[in-house]
């Protein structure tokens, strides 16, 4: 399962549980979470002045859930009482998943190796310059010189 669909599944279950009213992923990869009470709850909601001071947060495309400025901002808002701690926890979980879906996999880079040409006896084929140095009994990796080419 791709990490992008993992994010979609996570969002779906969060919305279903009521933790998040909506999550919007912009074309540029920015993510906005909406924690406002849903319509059902809004009918019984307390007066608007008693509702939370903040009820949604947006993060840019290139962001990380752990560490960094966003975490510091959320911690400061929670400590000041203007952000719900559960909103911060939900944000961190979604951001972590979002970051994973944004980061390209490097698995193929670790397994790809440039094939080495070999001759009929199985020995690596040297490049022209390296072959000339070897023929002259010069170790190509331990040359001492004045920087001029031979």
């Amino acid at each position: 399962m791709s990490s992008t669909s993992d994010l979609a599944n996570m969002v779906g279950s969060l919305v279903k549980s009521g933790a998040v009213a909506a999550l919007d992923v912009k074309p540029d990869g920015a993510v906005h979470l909406d924690f406002r009470a849903n319509e059902q709850a809004a009918n019984d909601a307390p007066p608007s002045a008693s509702q939370p001071a903040t009820a949604g947060f947006g993060v840019p495309a290139q962001s990380q859930a752990n560490g960094g400025k966003i975490k510091a901002q959320m911690d400061a808002m929670v400590n000041a009482g203007i952000m719900d701690p559960t909103h911060r926890d939900t944000m961190n979980a979604v951001l972590q998943q979002h970051h994973q879906s944004q980061t390209p996999s490097t698995e193929h880079l670790q397994t790809e190796k440039r094939p080495v040409a070999k001759d009929t006896s199985g020995q690596p084929v040297l490049g022209q310059h390296t072959a000339k140095l070897a023929a002259a009994n010069i170790d190509p990796f331990n040359q001492v010189g004045n920087g001029n080419s031979r």
Partner: protein, 78 residues
């Protein structure tokens, strides 16, 4: 000329989205309650100002947020 109103998007009768005018690596938007009054409003605004002093919010983003938090009061006085 910077106009903080351009960065405010109404959502419903209570909340608006305050978009960050500065791409500073932090939050790009915050949904703010425009109906806060009295002590709650003062606490909220003081918290935002402290975050500017602590370099967590840019002054421009704070200006957008503070304007949004007073929108209902400005509407009542108008």
């Amino acid at each position: 000329m910077f106009d903080p109103e351009e960065y405010i998007q109404p959502l419903d009768n209570v909340y608006v989205v305050c978009n960050n005018p500065v791409a500073d690596g932090g939050l790009s938007a915050i949904t703010v309650n425009t109906q806060l009054t009295g002590e709650k409003l003062r606490t909220f605004q003081e918290s935002i100002r402290r975050m500017v002093l602590g370099k967590l919010f840019s002054p421009k983003f704070a200006e957008v947020i503070l304007l949004a938090s007073e929108m209902s009061r400005n509407t009542r006085c108008a």
